[in-house]
């Protein structure tokens, strides 16, 4: 037990996997017990994550709760875990969304229940693992391993074109990460370690082994992987397919967490490790991000399918995040991180809402609906709040993030801020227009007249989401406070490049003894 309390990150990471293992031994027929176990484990994980979040000290620089243990001695790969403000938020987000996803699929998943929840929990381990790894190799393992459960979630429990979507998803992501693997190995051959902190220290100390062109290529290798994952504008085509075809839980996790891994990777790896290249490529990336914002918004506007609309809105929102990151300003990056969480919560919630409607009507076409506000009043109210959060209404969470990002962009170039603001307006247009068509007016389709309103389980989900939305909108301080040092650190690294940063905050782990 003492060991467990001393290794909170390991426990947190592998608790869901333990749950998956338990489920593996449950009988296939007892579906409810399986669901219960899954929920219990995910809630336990969430509790742990919350405890970790609270225990995380906002004033202490560097990584916290560090665990180090040599794993493979040749090449020296360490089981190196640790979190900073950035990861603690994302872990919390993952741990929060997983129980919601489980609840959201409680009734809608009826076939192969056992496998479904098994994969879902395994997926959670993968996600948390990605956020806690401080060893490039370990990170890569979680990064790739996570694809498999997601692939199954989409491919087995998805909608009509699920196989296509699943394969497209996995191939796109793997193509990107394959090059990242080459980059990681190359980085290792140059520096002799996979340890993120050690490499970062070397780079900051003006490490001579990494020439300018090597840095550029490495940056591109890493960035491509992350850009595909985000997805940034020209690499986004897998996203609508995957989101639309995935089951609700899949979409929630996909939009809520998986996309964040891309932006997380940029912050964690691209910027600190390759500062010079990051600075060089920033203008191009910012432009792409803005294109993504506008393109995503415009395409979302014309979607006849609600889920697809939400999916494209993700492209736009993540454009914001990338824009914020590559402003290299405190406000921009903080806003970006905050927006990552917001998007996770509100888009996740939107997918859950669309999923609920789909469970009732087995369609997501906007034209099939109309006047739902009269038949489903509670549902409509929740939908409204979430939609407003997503479009960035002040007092709700979306506003804080978008505001900070636009602020950051403003510092770089005014035109960026203006264009981003146009994106915000467009978001309002497509969300509200959709809301209007679906919920207002007369009930046009007879099938919609007799729909049951929310069940208690659904209410629990939505209430918790709305609670978070409000809290994050009204009182962002607890979150932002924990980001300060991490953000400052990233900015320092990227701005001052390999020039002067000599501060070694945590001693690099000693070379493992044989």
């Amino acid at each position: 037990m003492i060991w467990l309390s001393q290794h909170p990150l390991s426990v947190l990471t592998f608790l869901p996997l333990a749950g998956a293992a338990v489920i593996a031994f449950l009988r296939r027929e007892s579906a409810d017990r399986i669901r219960g176990v899954a929920l219990a484990f995910s809630l336990a994980t969430f509790a742990l994550a919350l405890k970790l979040f609270l225990a995380f000290s906002p004033n202490q620089p560097g990584m916290q709760f560090v665990e180090y243990r040599p794993w493979i001695s040749s090449p020296p790969i360490g089981y190196h875990l640790g979190i900073d403000g950035l990861s603690v938020l994302l872990i919390l987000l993952s741990a929060f969304l997983t129980p919601l996803a489980i609840l959201a699929s409680w009734a809608s998943i009826t076939s192969h229940v056992k496998e479904f929840f098994l994969f879902l929990l395994a997926l959670e381990t993968g996600m948390i693992g990605v956020f806690v790894s401080l060893d490039l190799f370990l990170f890569f393992i979680f990064w790739e391993a996570m694809l498999i459960p997601m692939y199954f979630l989409i491919g087995v429990w998805g909608h009509e074109r699920r196989v296509y979507a699943a394969v497209k998803f996995i191939l796109y992501t793997m193509a990107g990460s394959a090059l990242m693997l080459v980059g990681i190995i190359y980085l290792y051959t140059v520096t002799g370690t996979f340890d993120l902190e050690v490499i970062e220290g070397l780079v900051a100390g003006g490490f001579a082994g990494l020439s300018g062109s090597a840095q550029t290529w490495l940056f591109l290798a890493f960035f491509l992987a992350f850009a595909i994952k985000v997805p940034m504008f020209p690499f986004h085509t897998w996203l609508p397919d995957a989101h639309v075809e995935a089951p609700t839980a899949g979409s929630v996790i996909l939009a809520g967490v998986l996309l964040k891994m891309g932006t997380y990777g940029m912050l964690r790896f691209c910027l600190p490790l390759f500062p010079q290249a990051s600075r060089e490529f920033a203008p191009l990336i910012v432009v792409l991000a803005i294109v993504g914002i506008l393109y995503g918004a415009l395409v979302a506007m014309v979607q006849p399918d609600m889920k697809k609309l939400v999916a494209y809105s993700s492209v736009a929102h993540l454009g914001f995040v990338v824009l914020g990151i590559f402003t290299f300003t405190m406000a921009g990056i903080q806003g970006a991180i905050y927006q990552m969480c917001n998007h996770g919560v509100s888009t996740g919630a939107l997918f859950i809402l669309v999923g609920m409607l789909y469970d009732r009507r087995h369609t997501r076409q906007i034209k099939e609906f109309g006047g739902l506000a009269t038949t489903l009043p509670i549902y409509s109210a929740f939908f409204m709040i979430v939609a407003l959060s997503s479009l960035g209404l002040p007092m709700l969470n979306g506003f804080v993030g978008e505001f900070l990002i636009i602020l950051g962009a403003f510092h770089v170039r005014v035109i960026y801020a203006v264009l981003a603001a146009v994106g915000v307006v467009l978001a309002a247009v497509y969300l509200l227009w959709m809301y209007q068509r679906v919920f207002f007016g007369e009930v046009t389709n007879e099938k919609n007249r007799k729909l049951p309103d929310l069940t208690d389980r659904e209410k629990v989900i939505l209430v918790s989401v709305v609670f978070v939305i409000l809290w994050m909108g009204v009182y962002p301080q607890p979150f932002l406070r924990r980001l300060d040092l991490s953000t400052a650190h990233v900015i320092h690294r990227v701005k001052h490049g390999p020039a002067s940063y000599a501060l070694q905050r945590t001693p690099p782990p000693a070379e493992p003894a044989r």
């Binding site: 493979i72 001695s73 040749s74 090449p75 192969h112 190799f137 890569f140 393992i141 979680f142 790739e144 391993a145 694809l147 498999i148 692939y151 199954f152 491919g155 087995v156 699920r162 196989v163 699943a166 394969v167 996995i170 191939l171 793997m174 193509a175 394959a178 090059l179 693997l181 080459v182 190995i185 190359y186 290792y188 051959t189």
Partner: protein
């Protein structure tokens, strides 16, 4: 007169024991009724285990034997252990198959053992004559095994194609040896290496010719492009457990020979063999992976995948370093586990006469036979190189060695093609889990022997995927301190 000592015999103890068991199998064969031939199978398995024990014994008295024509060094012990593992898995996987397809003849087991003997000799020999003989023993055994379903046209055809192209390749290999001999006056690898570096004949075009010829010959055996054309037909036509055997055993043995010859004896020659390996690696990876995309027959699909994997191994060899060698050794073991596993699993799925072999036949298998499908999924993921499976770490080590040797372009081709490969590996997973319908595949329960073999492979894949050093340390011992030591005996 004849200077043969007792230690000489201890240094080839595994081979001796295997041969003895093979002969005993033949002796007992006529006395067993057809229904009880499986006893011979278990007996052969016993022989493999005994040979394993013998290999342990041999590892305590390392050194050259029989006038330095063979060496018991860590390198050879490693490969012998690998071959024994492959033989054991294939034996376990074949018991039921033989009975079911009514080809339950004792010769099968004897041939598997003999083939293993040949492969052991290939890996252990430091004399080109012995390598050649080992190659022939393993080849002849596998030619017969490929055609073991005598009344099946496909099996005949496989056997014939394997035989014709194999002999063709052998001729090239031999011709290469002839030129090496003509140039250096020796066929002993150690002497050869010495003479090459001492006389500086390394650069002569004649040696290049010899190297190219030998590489063509060995390239056929490991099925690198463009010498791979036989592979799909042979793998498809041969009985599935045999395919398992010949997709790994002779291939690994030929790689052992390539390592010994190209990195050991010819290391002084350098550039030509490197260019060749490099080019061949790229071609093989691209051809194997792209061709696999269009296959609808599972065995053919895996055949092209096996071609592609030869390409990955070549990446490690092209690195030309001790690191590369150790990566290759590790990878070959991993490859053995996953490929043998996949092929022996195909057999019970395909049913009597191997009817259900199309990818579509696997529809819904994930639900009708969850265990089988899960195993197959593990093999596919490992073949595709997904982390936490050994397949990933294997590739990782190969790529690391190559990047260390500044072969970045090669590695990029390798990773991209391996992404392509994920597509076709996942096709099986897709049909098993994501398509509705009743599987064409049979649903008889797996026999115990097969379960043991599969469990070994799956557990091995995960254990090596997470704790590679259990094996990797060994692999490194073999390759260190310098790869040039390969041909020498400590």
């Amino acid at each position: 007169m004849i200077t043969v000592q007792a230690s000489d015999f201890i240094r080839i103890l595994p081979q001796e024991i295997l041969s003895a068991f093979a002969i005993l199998v033949m002796v007992f064969e006529p006395f067993l009724p057809s229904s009880r031939k499986v006893v011979l199978g278990w007996f052969s398995l016993l022989g493999v285990v005994a040979a394993g024990a013998a290999a342990v014994r041999t590892s305590y008295s390392l050194g050259p034997a029989f006038n330095a024509s063979i060496a018991a060094d860590p390198f050879s012990i490693y490969f012998i252990a690998l071959f024994l593992l492959v033989a054991a898995l294939c034996l376990l996987g074949s018991f039921n198959y033989l009975q079911r397809d009514n080809i339950n003849h004792g010769e099968f087991y004897a041939l598997i053992l003999m083939g293993t003997v040949g492969m052991c000799f290939m890996a252990a020999s430091t004399e080109l004559i012995m390598i050649f003989l080992g190659l022939e023993i393993s080849s002849l055994s596998t030619y017969v095994l490929a055609g073991f379903k005598r009344h099946d046209g496909l099996s005949n055809e496989a056997s014939l194609k394997y035989f014709l192209l194999g002999s063709f390749a052998t001729a090239f290999f031999l011709y290469g040896i002839a030129f090496v001999y003509g140039l250096t006056g020796t066929t002993n690898l150690m002497t050869l290496s010495e003479r090459l570096s001492r006389t500086g004949t390394g650069g002569t075009p004649l040696l290049w010719v010899a190297i190219v010829l030998m590489f063509i010959g060995l390239g056929f055996k490991v099925s690198t492009a463009p010498f791979h054309v036989w592979t799909p037909d042979v793998y498809q036509g041969a009985p599935a457990p045999v395919t398992a055997f010949l997709s790994v055993g002779p291939k690994a043995a030929a790689f052992a020979v390539i390592l010994r010859i190209f990195l050991g004896a010819f290391h002084a020659v350098g550039s030509v063999s490197f260019q060749m390996l490099w080019l061949s690696a790229i071609l093989t990876m691209v051809v194997g992976n792209l061709a696999a995309l269009w296959q609808s027959n599972v065995k053919r699909l895996l055949a092209y995948s096996a071609i592609a994997h030869a390409g990955y191994v070549l990446v490690g060899i092209a690195a030309g370093s001790a690191e590369g060698v150790s990566a290759v050794l590790f990878y070959l073991t991993v490859y053995a586990l996953m490929n043998v596993g996949a092929f022996i699993l195909i057999a019970p799925i395909a049913g009597t006469g191997e009817r259900a072999l199309r990818v579509e036949d696997y529809t819904g298998l994930g639900y009708t036979r969850p265990g089988v499908a899960a195993c197959l999924t593990v093999f596919m993921l490992s073949l595709g190189g997904i982390p936490t499976t050994a397949g990933f770490l294997g590739k990782f080590y190969l790529f690391r060695a190559a990047i260390h040797a500044h072969l970045i372009g090669l590695v990029i081709v390798a990773v991209l093609t391996s992404v392509v490969s994920v597509y076709y590996y996942l096709r099986l997973v897709v049909v098993m889990y994501m398509r509705e319908g009743q599987p064409q595949a049979t649903s008889e329960p797996l026999p115990l022997a097969l379960r043991v073999a599969l469990a070994t492979s799956v557990i091995g894949i995960f254990v090596l995927g997470l704790f590679p050093l259990l094996l990797k340390k060994k692999g490194e011992a073999e390759a260190s301190p310098r790869h040039t030591k390969l041909a020498q005996v400590r």
